[in-house]
Subunit: 331 residues, 4 copies
């Protein structure tokens, strides 16, 4: 159920109602947004009449969506995630760029310079790489985190990096501004819950064959921890098509924006694997309503240790940022 | 092989070369575009030295693409299909709208008025409906064609309608300005070849699980008849996702524009089945590079005999046309 | 609705009831099976009380399945299709084998000898080949039909061949014992209806991305013509998997046997494309309940004009037949 | 590279060669099977001439498969996993049965009695349930493990249970005879590696959209820890089909048996979700070459907290075991 407070209700009233509900055995969560207090009751034997009389309560109604906290039913306003001053979801599209993997200081620093010079907003780079083969390069681990954070700091960009295991969370949280949960871990529920508690914004990629509902339910696992800084990221789904690496699903982006209040990014690099498709699809992504894109760049694509063939050059990145802006402006 | 003539070569020189090739047993086709004559040799034992000496010939080189005529290799310029003055592929986005099925005169005429008033460019409507069940409404047939053509004429819009059988081609060609080949018939090769010979522009929908290459190869079956007025239309592919009716594949639109010279439309109605997704995805489609969209409208969606739930209202159609224009302008 | 007659009702009573229903405007069809007369009413404003009083009528009840004639609801007994003495669906598994395409007399005759010697029951071979590319070998057409029929006659095997266009139906029907409708034409409804009327048994392949229900609905288009000799054939569906050519869906075979009375074959050659998988999957197919398999063989696989890599040798075919028999016996 | 020793080579010779390789910086692993010593060199700058002279070495050759340890290239013999005396992969099919979730002592004990009485070989039951929704029943955790282990002990069956997080591994390993890695965690590489080190047999389910190669590469992550007791389990993949819950891919089972030496089970409950399909597909699974099946049963399916609709009754389980046996015998 959703408990909405009147616009002049105080924080004390909202907190009091929450205590009352918890005392009655409910699992409930306070959802502050747009200057209105709301409480979403996730479970527990609570009847509307148990709440309606509480001071400040204006309305009590059922939540029909299976993803209670991610749904616009319980939060009609767009969520804006603030990453060191960069607003994701606030109307201006953001571009996150960087190498697939942090390989060494020089490559990462050069990439960071490229990313900064082009005007992108966040630096990405993998220190822990989930690879199909145990014999592929698995990332530099802690050393990779240090290099990435230092590169970000030196050019003045917050950093996004993937976390693949609960055991790494503490360490990754020291270096990262945004924790990325990759497609293969979208339903690694233990990782979702633990990452949620780390107190950092979380970029949640859609699984390779996750339905839109499953994706939003995965976000729900994070939101349920009380962490509301969740950024969704569509990165292509598995289909029969072989020309493109995956099939970018912009309907999912629109659906996520319609049914949820969370910001949504698009990763056209992994979705297509083809540089000539990345720029037009990035423009289409923001035209569809995406809040930005995340792409792979590399100072020397041909020498990349991972996914070099889909990495953009500096010039392509500048063009992409311009197109992403145009796409956002046309909506 | 592709034979390119010099820019001052004459039609007589091109025709002479074609005769020469045919006399040598080749299957070859003349491709006139952008003021330059070209010949594509589809088959036959022809060596470059058999052609290079012919008057007007500037260059002879192999065609690597499996879709020789649909490829930009043999025609770098965008093909523009002219339908009674409406240019499809010429930079300005077009909107084709109308009811899923022609049901009766009143419904069709009302829909035509809606479509015209909103500013769309062509009227669509089905007289022959390919339905999963033999017990579903199969369309009005000849009577439906008459009603559609009359409605188009009365409001001043060219009409698009589907042809599902070679036996119907002659009749449908009398009434239609554009012949539509539906997704289920994309690899009905007998129909493709026969339709190609009807001398009308052909709108070729992508099959429900056709790869991008198979789609372009289906276009090739039409182009091989000498009919170059082929319009591609992406309408969503089958995936595991169930929230949307199909998954709209805008990567396929971009890929078709990159690798082929043919105009490409998008049908977001069949792709999504959800009115709230149709408008944002239409804007994204033209932002991605699509040459327009085809949508379903109905004067009374709730009473439609087929797919009423995804039909747009007059107001939604006006908004869609505006958004499609914005999407095209941002690229 | 399904009208069931008592076991001692006469053909005259059934025919009388049918006339009565047609006079009332119903579209109804007589379904004779297992010595009991039944009428399925496909459409029309008929109330149970309009029928119940007719002589011989024992029961009138609604048909819930969308595929009324293909469903076990209206025909609980297994349909057995008799092809020149070979019973398909009668408990003994059948094996249909032959080359992908009829290439010439020698190849076809050698293949027919192989097929006969191994103990297979029908000879297959394509004279009209639906090919992705218009530049691939399209089959020998009429000459191919003649060669196939002659090869079948000389070794004493009935023949199965694909028909791809309504215009070819009359000709193909002269030569073929079974008409095959290929996967790409599964929803070519004009072809289904026309083929149904040709009076020959029809082997209906499942479309590359057809649901089980759509497959049975396609069969319904044939059954509705009054032709009850329909054989279903599962040949693999399109998925993300790339190791196998398609994904063989044996659940669909079991579901088709459970929900429908029609015989079901499996084509493991097209489903897998890998000779080492064909034999174990053929055994699994009959163990699952399939009524037989259809496979590709070639006297010289390496010289085949089409799909040679998946063609079995004589020795492999003998082993396959043995395994198919074992699979059927274990159920 | 694969180093094969002569049949009379001693363990000391094999161990000596391994030490030699490690001293040279190689990552190498000893693969003892069928009385022959083998070493697989996973990485390191080793030339064949560095090894060929070592005592006992018979042959050195490259390993082409990407899944070096899972491949039959490095271990041609079938791996047999021995779980408390039950041999999985040894020719006799095994049946693992039990409830989806451990709900309480009574339900689990009743289920265990059913499973034992029917003649199944292992008891399954979930104490940690990975659920799409955070609001669905998540399992009893430690209490569930205790109940399951006690139920297994009391009826004399080893138990299989899923582990969803590295933090739970130690606890689950105390109670479980086989650790199950679920489909959603197939590429949770941190969990694979940690589970491999727990020293227990591991049942690895195929991911919902994992290719066959990715599945075997996931097994490789476990094998690389030195744990060779890996059991693969096909449980259906995601496709467009909606009648069945997923699409059971028996081609993957055959492929896994052909290309790998690991035992392969099939889970027809999750693959189909339809009780009427489970038994025929179980028979087909062993006929295809599967080493057994894993199914869900429940003493009172209608009251199950999870997936009750696909749970078998005691009578159905007995029939399934009989059919699984018949399927295995026919191959």
């Amino acid at each position: 159920m959703l408990v909405t407070f009147s616009s002049d209700a105080t924080e004390a009233e909202a907190a009091g109602a929450l205590d009352h509900l918890k005392a009655k055995g409910a699992n409930a969560i306070l959802v502050p947004a747009a200057g209105v207090w709301r409480i979403v009751i996730l479970s527990g034997q609570i009847a509307p009449e148990d709440i309606g009389f509480l001071p400040g309560v204006q309305e009590v109604r059922p939540v029909l969506s299976p993803f209670k906290l991610a749904s616009r039913e319980t939060c009609p306003e767009d969520t804006v995630v603030n990453v060191a001053g960069v607003k994701i979801g606030g109307g201006q599209p953001v571009v996150i760029a960087g190498p697939c993997a942090v390989e060494d200081e020089e490559q990462t620093y050069k990439a960071a310079l490229m990313v900064k010079a082009a005007g992108a907003h966040l630096l990405r780079g993998g220190a822990y790489k989930p690879r199909t083969s145990p014999y592929s390069f698995q990332g530099l681990g802690r050393r990779g985190l240090e290099i990435l954070a230092e590169a970000g700091r030196s050019v003045g960009l917050p950093v996004v990096t993937e976390v693949v295991a609960t055991d790494d969370l503490e360490l990754v949280s020291i270096y990262a501004d945004v924790l990325q949960i990759g497609a293969r871990n979208m339903q690694n529920f233990a990782l979702l819950a633990a990452a949620g508690k780390a107190g950092k914004p979380i970029l949640l990629k859609r699984g390779l064959s996750a339905t839109i509902e499953e994706w939003l339910m995965a976000a729900e696992y994070i939101l349920k921890t009380g962490n509301r800084q969740v950024i969704l990221c569509e990165r292509g789904i598995r289909t029969f098509e072989t020309l493109t690496r995956n099939t970018l699903d912009l309907s999912a982006v629109v659906a996520a924006k319609v049914y949820s209040h969370l910001p949504v990014l698009v990763d056209p690099s992994h979705a297509t694997g083809l540089p000539e498709l990345i720029i037009p699809l990035s423009r289409a992504a923001t035209a569809a309503g995406a809040d930005g894109v995340m792409v792979e760049v590399h100072p020397e694509p041909c020498e990349a240790k991972c996914d070099g063939f889909q990495a953009l050059t500096a010039k392509e990145l500048s063009q992409l940022i311009e197109e992403v802006r145009k796409g956002a402006e046309c909506r």
